[in-house]
Amino acid sequence: MNIHRVNQATPGASLGIASVTSWRGKLRAVFLRSEAIRGYTLLSPTLVVMMFGMCAPFAIMVAVSFWTQHAFDFDTTFTLGRYQDVIDKPIYMALMLRSLAISGACTVVTVLLAYPMAYYVAFHVHRHKLIWIILMTLPFWTSYLLRVFAWKVILGFNGVINSGLKGLGLIEQPLEFLLYSPTAVVITLAHAWAAFAILPIYVSLEKIDRSLLEAATDLGDGPVKRFLGVTLPLSLPGIIAATLLIFIPTVGDYVTPALVGGPSGIMLANNIQAQFGKVNDWPMGAALAMAMMITVAVISVVYIWVTRKAAGRIV
C-alpha cells in the first residue's frame, strides 16, 4: 500500500523507470498496482499445497464413496449403497455416536481445564507472559506418539497411578477403568490438545479491555457476577475457537484409541482405517469418512449458531 502511494506521488519518476527497464518494469508495475495479484502471489505456495494435498484427495474420496468394492477391483457404477450401510448397520452408528461422545467429553474437559490456565496467565501474570505460554505448549515439544505412550505408562495396570495407590494401601486391585477404556482416551486426548484450547482462550481474554471489568465492578458486580456478565461473554469467541479446534480433529483420531482405548474405547476412525486396510473396502471407508465429516460440519455450524445466539442473552 505504501509503495503504491509513493508511486502515485511521483508519477513522472515511476513512468520514467518503467519505460527504461522494459518488461521487467512493466511486470513490476502491474504487480505493485493490483492488490489482488500481490495477495495471490503470497498465497500461491499454500494454494498449490492445498490443491494437491487436500482438494484432489478429497475429490477422489468423494468419488470412491459412490463405488462398490469387488475383491481387489472397484465397480465404478454410481451407488448410494455404502451410505445406506452407514445408516443401516448398527455397528457404524454405534461407533459414530461413541466417537462423538468421547470427543465431546474430551472437548469439554479440555476447555474447562484450559480456561482457568488461560485466565490465570491473562489476568494474574504481569511479567514474562510469553514464558508461561511457552511452558504451557511444552507437551507439544515431544511427538504425539510419545505422549500417548507416556499416558500408557501412567494409566497402566502397573502404571504410576495404580502402583502409587497400591503403595499407599488405598486399593488392592489395580483400577481397570484407567487404561483401555474411553476414560483413557479422553484423558490422553485432553492432554494432547490442551495447548489448542489454551491459546485461543488466552488471546480472547487478553483482548478484553480492562476498563470493561472495572466498569462492571463500578456498576455493582462482585467478582463472580462480573465474570459471568462480562468476562465470559467476551471470551466466547476464544471458547468457540478452542472447542472447534479440539472437537474436529479429535473426532477423527485413531492413534490414541488404538493405543489406550481398548475394545470399549475404539472409535469410528479406527474402523475407517480398517476399511482402507485389513477389511479392504475402500468405498465403505470413504462413505464413513464422508458421513463423519458431514456430521462434524453440521454439529459445528449448529454449535456456532447456538452459542452466538446465547451470547447476547447471558446477562
Binding site: 479491555d209 466498569a215 455493582g220
Partner: protein, 377 residues
C-alpha cells in the same frame, strides 16, 4: 490543619491519602472535602495523579496511606462494587456484547433484590431521556457516534443514582464543538439531578467553565483548591497562574514596601509599584518574587496621554506579532527591559479604529492593583 475524620456534610473526603506504585508517588497527602451537590474538577498536566485520585474514590485502588471517606465513613478496604459512586470512563468502557438498553440497565440488574423488568424498563427510559437518547434503545454500541456513546456511558452511570459521579476526562475524545455542547449539557445535568460530580480534565477551559471548585494538582499533590474566579485572580503561585489562563511573568526582587504599596525591581531594570494586599505582605524586602500580569490586564495606547494616570508601570514596546482571535487581538510585544510579553486587547468599538500593526511602537501600562506578586518558585 487536617481534622481527624470527615465533616458530616461532605460526600467525599481525603485525609492525608497517598498512593504509591512501587517508587512512583501517584498521589501524596491528599486532603480534600467535597460538599454534597458540588461540581469539582481535578485539573493538572498528564501524570499528576488525577486518575489515581478518582480511582481512590471509586475503590479501584486503595490508598497506601491515609483515609478516604464517603459520606463521612471511612471506606478504606471497601471494594468498588460496594461503594455508592459510579464512574464514566475515559473511553466510555461500554460493554460491546450488549445493546444500549442492556448497557444502561446493567447496574440495575446487578442489584439485589433485582427490580422488576417493568421497573428497569421505566428507569432506563428515564435516564435515556435525561441524556437525550430516547429512541435509540436497541442499537448496538458500535452503531453510535462518539458523542452518543458518551451519553450512554453517562446514562449507565446515572441509573444507579450514585452519591458521586466520577468522570475521567469524559470529553477528551470529542471534537471541539461537540465538547463545548457536552460541557453545557453536563453542567445542566448536574444541576438537574443534584448529584456531586467530580471531573478529571487537563483542559483548563473545561475545568474553569464547568466547575464550582477546581483542584489544581502537580506531581501527585494538590497545589490549590478554589473557585475558578479565585484561582484566576488569586493564584497561590506561579504554577497555578501559569496553568489557569495565560499570564506574563517578570522576575524581580522586593525593593521597598510599606502599608499601601510594594515596589518591585525587575531584573530587566524597571520598577513596578503595586498596591499591597494580604498576599503580597508575605514577601519581605529583598525577597525574590515574580510579578504576574494577565495579557488582558495590560492597556495599550498609541499616545502616552491615553494611558491611565495611576499605573504600576509605563513602557514603550514594539509589536512583534499579532494574532486575530475574533473578539480579541493578541499581540506579542517586546520591550528592552521587560523582554517579550503577551497582551490581549478587545476590538475597538469603532470599526474605523485600526488595530496596531506589526513593528509599530505602542505605549503599555498596567494598573497598580492588577498585577500579582508571587513567590518565585
Amino acid at each position: 490543619m487536617t481534622t481527624k475524620g470527615a465533616r458530616p456534610d461532605t460526600v467525599v473526603s481525603f485525609r492525608n491519602a497517598s498512593k504509591y506504585y512501587g517508587d512512583v508517588v501517584a498521589a501524596r497527602n491528599l486532603d480534600l472535602d467535597v460538599a454534597s451537590g458540588e461540581f469539582l474538577s481535578f485539573l493538572g498536566p498528564s501524570g499528576c495523579g488525577k486518575t489515581t485520585s478518582l480511582r481512590l474514590i471509586a475503590g479501584f485502588d486503595q490508598p497506601s496511606e491515609g483515609e478516604v471517606f464517603l459520606q463521612g465513613e471511612c471506606v478504606n478496604g471497601v471494594p468498588a462494587y460496594r461503594r455508592p459512586v459510579n464512574m464514566v470512563f475515559q473511553h466510555y468502557a461500554l460493554f460491546p456484547h450488549l445493546n444500549i438498553v442492556d448497557n444502561v440497565a446493567y447496574g440495575l440488574k446487578q442489584r439485589s433484590p433485582k427490580p422488576s423488568s417493568k421497573e428497569i424498563g421505566q428507569r432506563v427510559n428515564e435516564v435515556l431521556e435525561l441524556v437525550q437518547l430516547g429512541g435509540f434503545d436497541y442499537r448496538r454500541i458500535w452503531e453510535m457516534s462518539g458523542g452518543q456513546q458518551q451519553r450512554v456511558a453517562l446514562a449507565r452511570a446515572l441509573i444507579n443514582k450514585p452519591k458521586v459521579l466520577l468522570l475521567d476526562e469524559p470529553l477528551a475524545a470529542l471534537d471541539r464543538k461537540l465538547r463545548r455542547e457536552m460541557q453545557i449539557e453536563l453542567q445542566n445535568l448536574q444541576r438537574n439531578v443534584g448529584i456531586t460530580f467530580i471531573l478529571v480534565t487537563h483542559d483548563q477551559e473545561e475545568a474553569l467553565s464547568m466547575s464550582d471548585r477546581v483542584c489544581i494538582m502537580r506531581d501527585g499533590e494538590i497545589v490549590q483548591i478554589g473557585s475558578p474566579l479565585d484561582l484566576y485572580d488569586r493564584p497561590k503561585n506561579r504554577y497555578v497562574a501559569d496553568f489557569v489562563g495565560k499570564s506574563n511573568f517578570f522576575d524581580g526582587a522586593v525593593e521597598h514596601k510599606n502599608k499601601s504599596t510594594i515596589d518591585i525591581k525587575l531584573d530587566g531594570g524597571s520598577t513596578v509599584a503595586l498596591k499591597a494586599n494580604a498576599d503580597s505582605n508575605e514577601h519581605k524586602v529583598g525577597d525574590r518574587v515574580c510579578v504576574s500580569v494577565r495579557p488582558e490586564q495590560v492597556t495599550l495606547a498609541r499616545n502616552q496621554e491615553q494611558l491611565p494616570t495611576d499605573c504600576a508601570i509605563k513602557a514603550k514596546a514594539q509589536v512583534m506579532n499579532r494574532i486575530f482571535l475574533g473578539e480579541q487581538i493578541e499581540y506579542l510585544l517586546r520591550d528592552e527591559r521587560l523582554g517579550e510579553f503577551l497582551v490581549r486587547s478587545p476590538r475597538q468599538h469603532a470599526l474605523s479604529e485600526r488595530p496596531f500593526e506589526i513593528n509599530e511602537s505602542v505605549f503599555v501600562a498596567w494598573s497598580r492593583d492588577t498585577a500579582l506578586v508571587l513567590g518565585s518558585e
